[in-house]
């Protein structure tokens, strides 16, 4: 029976020009966004390759500099796009994508896209993730709000009940019809994305397939919740105009108001110190360590003595190594601890702020799917933090190598340290290790749980209350 009602509802949707128009518009928007997203990704990848080339050429042309000077000269690390950034840009436009890596200084990423845009960036993005999570639910609600009311007004619902059709089957026929249309849209988007990716030379790795499945699956579950709620409201509210208003207000609350309020609540519950306070606190802690550049620094003198004792010599001019390199390394290692402490605290606070959003996802399925969508696309805050960590690790390895070269690449002649000529091209460029899909799930399990809970709860509610919906309109 459900299958027959499902086909009946599909025919009703097909005969309604407005519903067809809305679905065609949604399909066009999704396909267009996939195409534009892929093109944006291509432009960004080309830009990154170009920047890398310039930066590497500058690095390889270094001549006549000591390893320590090269540490100050530094290098640049460029953030790659997320695995499915073409489908969901996530936080990428708001986070820095260039990190300067140099000795003694830990620089946070800078040059975000948003920092060179006007306030247009505040009005949303035209990517598939946003369209699926934000726009499509509204279109579905506007298509489905009168689904039951229409049958009630035309008397079809009464006839069906009179023929012994369970109301539950009627509702499920409608839910499955609208959800099937939503699934067609999600599938069309997925196929378009894969097609564009393959034709432009991309490779479908296991991780990409898993991410794509997660991305499409989470949106599919969210759209199921939206459809069940839309049909449910249409069934329980006798007046279709009231149903429309309820769905519009619910959509507005869920996708526009609540996410903003939640984000602000999170930052008020777990406030971050200001940038000035943060920088000053780091500076104070940094000053408590060894100062590799200050010849009178007490900690430096103590370490110098320790090194002299280890080598069993009286002064630095007798050492078989350049003491400067060893002192700089000790200075940097202390700086690393300061970075770990301060940035660790900051990241922990941000994690707590996101935790508030994750908790609210149990009240709002939109926030659940938004987090999952970004995570599967590899463009959420957690993926961004991974980039920051990897950039910092690269900095430590690079500076450690340079300090080691500064200490050892040379020879002592008559008490003077003579540096060898060093080919800095041997120091490899930054390679970003992409995170696997498990990383996304590991950080976003609350949202996944919330979305599943919403799906289960809405299905149970629909089943439980289906028998009690009004069969006739006003004056029943």
């Amino acid at each position: 029976m459900i299958a027959r009602l499902f086909r009946l509802e599909l025919r009703a949707i097909r005969s309604d020009g407005r519903s067809v128009a809305l679905l065609v518009i949604a399909l066009a928007m999704l396909v267009l966004s996939a195409w534009i997203g892929a093109d944006a990704r291509r432009v960004a990848d080309e830009g990154r390759a170009q920047a890398l080339e310039v930066s590497r050429a500058q690095w390889e042309s270094i001549q006549g500099l000591s390893a320590h000077a090269v540490g100050h000269y530094g290098s640049y690390v460029y953030k790659p796009g997320g695995a499915l950034a073409a489908l969901d840009g996530g936080v990428m436009p708001f986070t820095g994508k260039v990190v300067r890596v140099e000795a003694h200084v830990q620089t946070p990423p800078s040059h975000s896209d948003a920092s060179s845009w006007s306030s247009l960036v505040r009005l949303g993005a035209f990517d598939a993730g946003s369209i699926l999570a934000h726009v499509l639910p509204l279109l579905l609600a506007f298509t489905a709000f009168s689904s039951v009311a229409r049958d009630r007004e035309t008397g079809l619902l009464r006839s069906l009940v009179a023929q012994g059709v369970p109301l539950r089957d009627v509702l499920w026929g409608k839910v499955l019809a609208y959800w099937a249309l939503a699934l067609v849209l999600v599938a069309a988007l997925t196929v378009t994305h894969v097609g564009i990716d393959l034709t432009s030379g991309g490779a479908l790795t296991g991780d990409t397939i898993a991410r794509l499945t997660g991305f499409a699956g989470s949106h599919a579950i969210h759209l199921l919740v939206v459809v069940v709620l839309s049909v449910g409201v249409s069934a329980w509210v006798a007046d279709s105009r009231a149903a429309l208003a309820i769905l519009t207000i619910a959509w507005l609350g869920a996708t526009v108001i609540l996410p903003r309020i939640t984000a602000q609540l999170g930052s008020q519950l777990y406030p971050l110190s200001s940038q000035v306070e943060f920088e000053d606190a780091m500076k104070v802690d940094r000053s408590k360590g060894l100062d590799g550049h200050d010849p009178h620094d007490e900690r430096r003198l103590a370490l110098q003595q320790q090194i002299l004792d280890e080598y069993g010599v009286q002064n630095a001019r007798e050492l078989p190594v350049n003491i400067g390199g060893l002192l700089m390394q000790a200075d940097d290692e202390y700086g690393d601890k300061v970075w770990d402490h301060h940035f660790g605290n900051r990241h922990a606070t941000v994690r707590k702020q996101i935790g508030v959003t994750q908790a609210v996802a149990f009240l709002n399925p939109y926030q659940a799917v938004r987090g999952l969508s970004m995570a599967f696309a590899g463009t959420d805050q957690f993926h961004d933090v991974q980039f920051q960590r990897q950039a910092e690790n690269y900095r430590r390895v690079m500076v450690g190598t340079l300090n080691n070269l500064d200490a050892t690449a040379g020879r002592r002649e008559n008490g003077r340290w003579i540096r060898d000529e060093i080919d800095y091209a041997d120091i490899a460029d930054f390679q970003f290790e992409t995170q696997q899909v498990g990383f996304a799930l590991g950080n976003r399990w609350p949202e996944l749980l919330a979305l599943i809970a919403w799906a289960v709860a809405s299905v149970v509610m629909l089943n439980k209350h289906a028998g009690r919906i009004p069969v006739v309109g006003a004056g029943r």
């Binding site: 820095g96 946070p108 006007s118 993005a125």
Partner: protein, 484 residues
């Protein structure tokens, strides 16, 4: 006519007071507005706290040096290499910042103030430091930025049309559904005037709500007292935007397509103008003018570290002396003085590069914004937001002006170091205090650009014309069909 108007007001009031849905929508809108003002106010107070922290930072560092001057010394005991009578150390200890002060209206339109840096260190010899202020977003929660602001500008640009939608979507359709149109016809007003009057009442109500929120926001933020002109323009823009949406929705109602279709059209318009068009324009213009990986700036920063700092200073001297023809050309009397001169020449060469790069970045941004502005005719939400944020000094144009000011302050600071260094005059208490002037604290609120009003006006005219045409067509159709 007056009687009809009175009757309509009574009718609308009755509908409003009896419809829980409408009353709740109005209350929710007003509550959102109040929350937005409180939230914006919180943001501005955090902004001000940062400025206080910078002042504190400046004071601490300056007082250290002033204490040395008072004690007849030039640096701390035990750290003999610090000498504030020399340009390098005077520059460091005469700590100064170029800061963007929030306009009172910034509490109502946060704009980009949580994305872009609102301050920078002013240092003549600090190398790249003044231009390396981190992206605030990177140090914070980017997902919060993605979720978006909840300021009054957002409430007006985004939520106000939705409130109008909820109040208007069944105007006309209700009469048709209840079979009242024939009765309307026998009254002394035409169906078009009836529709217009009925639509006008909710529009006036929403405009009054918007005005009330503007007054509350203006009083709370102090904008009415401090910048009344800007606040008035802000309010006028909001009222104009309300009329625009009212006219757009009235045009939809004039088509007389029934409640469901009217609601669909209205949501379509709102979705198009407030969600799809702004996002699509951003994406399309982003393709035309991508913001890539700032290679020009990173190259300039590297130049400061390598080509300029470690390169041959003689390469940069001709340009330096050409720009400052009155400088004495005598040789420095000491090695230290020579080293400071070289550093200043290198820094001036670096600033020349930064100046070029800053100009290039600004022209890229302007090109992008010009491309976005071309779509302004179909992007009213953005046109309004841009104008409101411009007034509040939180739009990109304000940040560009701030960036230019940072550059000017740094250049002035460097120039202030040149004279004493070349004349070999140590910094005294007076000349040291003179360096404090390079700190800058400015507001950047700007009146709306010329195209703002015309863009909103053109859309309004189109909506009014559409209303007249659609109402005429509908009247003709209904007369033919015998509905009225």
């Amino acid at each position: 006519m007056i009687d009809i108007l009175k009757a309509l007001v009574r009718f609308e009031w009755m509908r409003l007071s009896r419809s829980r849905m409408r009353a709740s929508a109005i209350l929710v809108f007003f509550a959102c507005g109040l929350y937005a003002i409180a939230s914006g106010q919180h943001h501005v107070s955090t902004w001000k706290e940062t400025l206080d922290e910078l002042t504190q930072r400046e004071t601490t560092q300056r007082e250290q040096a002033l204490a040395w001057f008072s004690a007849g010394r030039t640096g701390p005991e035990g750290r003999t290499w610090i000498d504030v009578s020399q340009a390098r150390w005077a520059d460091r200890y005469a700590s100064a910042h170029a800061v963007m002060e929030p306009e009172p209206l910034a509490a109502l339109a946060i704009g980009l103030s949580d994305i872009r840096a609102t301050w920078a260190t002013v240092s003549g010899m600090g190398g790249a430091r003044p231009f390396q202020t981190a992206d605030p977003a990177t140090l914070g929660n980017a997902e919060k930025l993605l979720a978006g602001n909840f300021d009054l500008a957002f409430v007006f640009a985004y939520l106000l049309p939705l409130l109008l939608l909820v109040l208007l979507f069944d105007v006309g359709g209700l009469e048709r559904d209840l079979g009242m149109m024939r009765m309307v016809r026998v009254q002394s007003v035409s169906p078009r005037s009836w529709l217009l009057l009925r639509a006008a009442l909710p529009i006036v109500l929403v405009a009054m709500l918007a005005l009330l929120l503007c007054v509350v926001g203006g009083l709370w933020s102090g904008a009415i007292g401090a910048t009344f002109g800007s606040w008035s323009t802000f309010t006028l823009l909001v009222l104009g935007y309300t009329c625009l949406w009212g006219a757009l929705f009235a045009a939809v109602l004039a088509a007389g397509t029934g409640v469901s279709a009217a609601a669909l059209w209205m949501v379509g318009l709102w979705l198009g103008f407030c969600v799809v068009v702004p996002a699509a324009v951003r994406q399309v213009v982003g393709q035309e003018h991508p913001s890539l990986y700032a290679s020009e700036l990173t190259t300039a920063m590297r130049a400061e570290r390598y080509e300029i700092l470690l390169g041959d200073v003689a390469e940069h001297e001709p340009a330096f002396y050409q720009a400052r023809p009155n400088l004495p050309t005598s040789e420095p009397s000491s090695r230290a003085s020579g080293s400071t001169r070289r550093r200043i020449v290198q820094q001036a060469a670096f600033l020349d590069i930064v100046g070029d790069v800053t100009q290039k970045m600004s022209s890229d941004e302007i090109a992008r914004e010009t491309a976005v502005a071309r779509w302004g005719w179909v992007n009213p939400a953005y046109v309004l937001q841009r104008a409101l944020c411009g007034l509040a000094g939180t739009e990109s144009v304000s940040f560009r002006a701030h960036r230019d000011d940072v550059f000017t302050s740094v250049t002035s600071r460097l120039d202030a170091l040149v004279g004493p260094t070349w004349n070999e005059q140590p910094f005294t208490l007076e000349t040291f205090e003179g360096l404090f002037e390079h700190g800058l604290s400015q507001r950047y609120g700007l009146p709306p650009r010329a195209g703002t009003w015309s863009r909103l006006l053109v859309l309004l005219v189109i909506a009014v014309v559409a209303f007249v045409v659609l109402a005429t067509m509908r009247g003709k159709r209904e007369r033919q069909a015998g509905v009225i």
